[in-house]
């Protein structure tokens, strides 16, 4: 029972809980207490220290900004206005708060607001769908387009859109980079002749890729009414992020242990058999390392690309909030930052999980 739980948590990447489970089972209390301190208590303590430092930093920034604001008010509008502003600030009214780094509590409040907002919008959507259900049925029967909800997307909707984009981009990268990587890995000649493209385009910034894709997609989608901003952003994400997979796949395929290749030669396996039975399984660990880098790069550049391409998602959410410029917008940006971080982390863990499932080398987490 205990062992299967430990195997289970290790499998899903929560191996750090192992000493706690052993401690609960009264196994080697001295050693496991130490392990719990090291693997669980210390990281949690570091979280609190992080929040504490953040609190200190934000309150000092707040005071600085507030003092500056009051001083400016005294200078420009006189003592009375300054006193009024000070009172307004102390009352906590969001209209007169100094605009600076929000404190952890403010960020948490903003998170609650975003959640409420999402609930509200979901309820609206549901009501809208119910209201238009009958009408849409008729419209579809008549061959007209159904009426869809066109209200403002909630924060959670933005996250979903971003995930959709990054997933599409990742799949694009996968389907371009892995096959090309395999071909390049197999042929020295091709590898040599195409290397310059890889070396030159690998370091190109996401922004430039976006512009390039924009140039092409704009022309291609001239006469169609498809959602070109989504197409542009997912293609750009794919192109930015595929290089790690391409390079790793080519390297993995070209550096398969010669013993395996010799076995394939002695058994005279057909080329396809050789690729699928020997070369691909042998290079899987490196391909997956590439895919993991690709996915994290995809998620990282996605925000910048959404921001520039004006396509909906977390990037445009962050940009709009920044344009708002109010104090609670700053808090929302920090919420988005954490969400981006957590999702990036989760995506990496998912990839690691899949890698452990399919790969013969068990990677340590």
């Amino acid at each position: 029972m205990k062992d299967s739980i430990i195997r289970g948590i290790k499998f899903i990447g929560l191996g750090f809980l192992e000493p706690l489970i052993r401690l609960i089972n009264k196994e080697e209390p001295k050693k496991n207490t130490k392990e719990v301190m090291r693997k669980i208590v210390a990281p949690i303590a570091s979280v609190f220290i992080f929040i504490g430092l953040w609190q200190l930093g934000s309150s000092s920034l707040y005071n600085k900004e507030a003092a500056y604001k009051i001083e400016a008010a005294t200078r420009n509008q006189g003592e009375e206005a300054a006193a009024k502003l000070k009172a307004c600030m102390e009352s906590g009214d969001s209209n007169c708060q100094p605009n600076t780094l929000p404190s952890p509590a403010q960020v948490y409040a903003a998170y609650q607001v975003l959640l409420e907002d999402h609930k509200q919008i979901s309820a609206d959507k549901k009501a809208f769908a119910e209201k238009t259900f009958e009408m849409n049925k008729k419209r579809v029967a008549q061959g007209k387009r159904a009426i869809t909800y066109t209200g403002r997307p909630s924060f959670v909707d933005q996250i979903k859109t971003s995930l959709k984009t990054v997933f599409a981009g990742f799949l694009l990268a996968l389907f371009i980079a892995v096959p090309i990587g395999i071909v390049l890995g197999l042929s020295k000649t091709l590898r040599g002749s195409i290397n310059w493209i890889i070396q030159i385009f690998k370091p190109v910034s996401p922004v430039v890729w976006l512009l390039l894709v924009f140039m092409i997609v704009k022309t291609l989608t001239k006469n169609s009414d498809s959602d070109s901003s989504f197409i542009i952003s997912f293609i750009s994400v794919g192109l930015c992020s595929m290089w790690a997979t391409l390079v790793n796949t080519a390297m993995g395929v070209s550096s398969v242990n010669t013993d395996y290749i010799n076995v394939a030669k002695v058994l005279r396996l057909r080329p396809l058999q050789k690729i699928f039975k020997v070369i691909l399984p042998a290079s899987l660990p490196l391909i997956f390392t590439g895919l993991r880098i690709t996915l994290s790069v995809a998620w990282m550049v996605l925000i910048a690309i959404e921001l520039l391409a004006q396509s909906p998602g977390l990037g445009s959410f962050v940009w709009e909030e920044f344009q708002n410029g109010a104090m609670d917008s700053n808090s929302k940006i920090i919420v988005a930052m954490f969400v981006i971080g957590f999702i990036g982390f989760a995506l990496d863990r998912i990839m690691l999980f899949i890698q452990n499932l399919v790969s013969f080398e068990k990677e340590t987490i």
Binding site: D259, N262, V266, L267, A282, F360, E361
Partner: protein, 270 residues
């Protein structure tokens, strides 16, 4: 050559047919300082059902010679023929057991053996092919781990599977490149027994490289000694006239054993 032809013991091989023939074999590696001749004027005839061990100093070109026989290394001059027809590249008529087990770690032991069996018996049913795999895995003592991944078993066990894989494709010639070199001496002894057990039943012509004088004597019908490189060739051939099947104990107690051993060590230390 003359030694081989006049050797009366060769007659114990019923057909007296030449299985593997190395004629004026030469291997040259080009280097920036000019060509490096590894092997030159190397002649060796190996009879059907004969077990040959090759012994010589490190770097003398033993492995080069074996990989040329396997077709994994290009021949610079002369030729190698199997049953009279010269070889072109590697093929399943010459099974190879490598120094490292070289099993595919992502496949089970069964699948590793199956890889070759499928190739050699393309028309057999799935059941027949599985039976062949199981038979040979059983022979090498791996009957309890048909479905274990190759990465989960010890190196000695992996080499057992390597032996099963090589025998299961029923090659005409079996080429072994220091197959037990990486194992500890206990495991090595066990695997020598496994190898000779299977070989006694299958009687596949075998060429094995080894560094171990005792191993060379225990397994071989003839021990081939190679001179040190460059331009290595066959220095001496020592027929081992022990009856088969042999047991390690009987051989160690045999009077001739130390004579053979001395002969080999004298050659190597010369």
């Amino acid at each position: 050559m003359s030694q081989l032809i006049h050797n009366p013991k060769i007659e114990k091989f019923p057909s007296n047919e030449v299985m593997l023939d190395l004629i004026d074999l030469k291997k040259v590696y080009p280097t920036p300082k000019g060509d490096y001749v590894v092997l030159e004027n190397l002649n060796l005839q190996i009879k059907k059902e004969e077990f040959i061990t090759i012994i010589g100093h490190s770097g003398c070109g033993k492995t080069t010679m074996l990989s040329m026989m396997a077709g994994l290394n290009e021949i610079s001059g002369g030729k190698i023929s199997v049953l009279g027809s010269s070889i072109k590249g590697p093929g399943p008529d010459r099974g190879v057991i490598f120094q490292s087990p070289s099993l595919m770690p992502w496949l089970t032991t069964m699948e590793n053996v199956m890889l070759g069996v499928k190739k050699v018996y393309p028309h057999a049913t799935k059941k027949q092919k599985e039976d062949i795999c199981k038979y040979y895995l059983h022979k090498v003592g791996m009957e309890s781990s048909f479905y274990k991944r190759a990465s989960e078993i010890s190196q000695g066990e992996q080499q057992r599977v390597g032996i099963a894989r090589a025998f299961a494709i029923k090659p005409k010639v079996l080429l072994l490149d220091e197959p037990f070199g990486m194992l500890d001496s206990l495991t090595r002894g066990q695997l020598q027994d496994v190898l000779i057990d299977v070989w006694n039943k299958e009687k596949i012509t075998a060429v094995m490289i080894t560094h171990d004088v005792d191993e060379a004597i225990f397994l071989a019908d003839r021990v081939v000694m190679m001179t040190s490189g460059p331009k290595a060739k066959i220095g001496d051939v020592l027929p081992i006239e022990f009856e088969r099947p042999r047991t390690r104990k009987a051989i160690l107690e045999h009077d001739d054993y130390y004579k053979y051993r001395k002969h080999l060590i004298d050659f190597l230390e010369h």
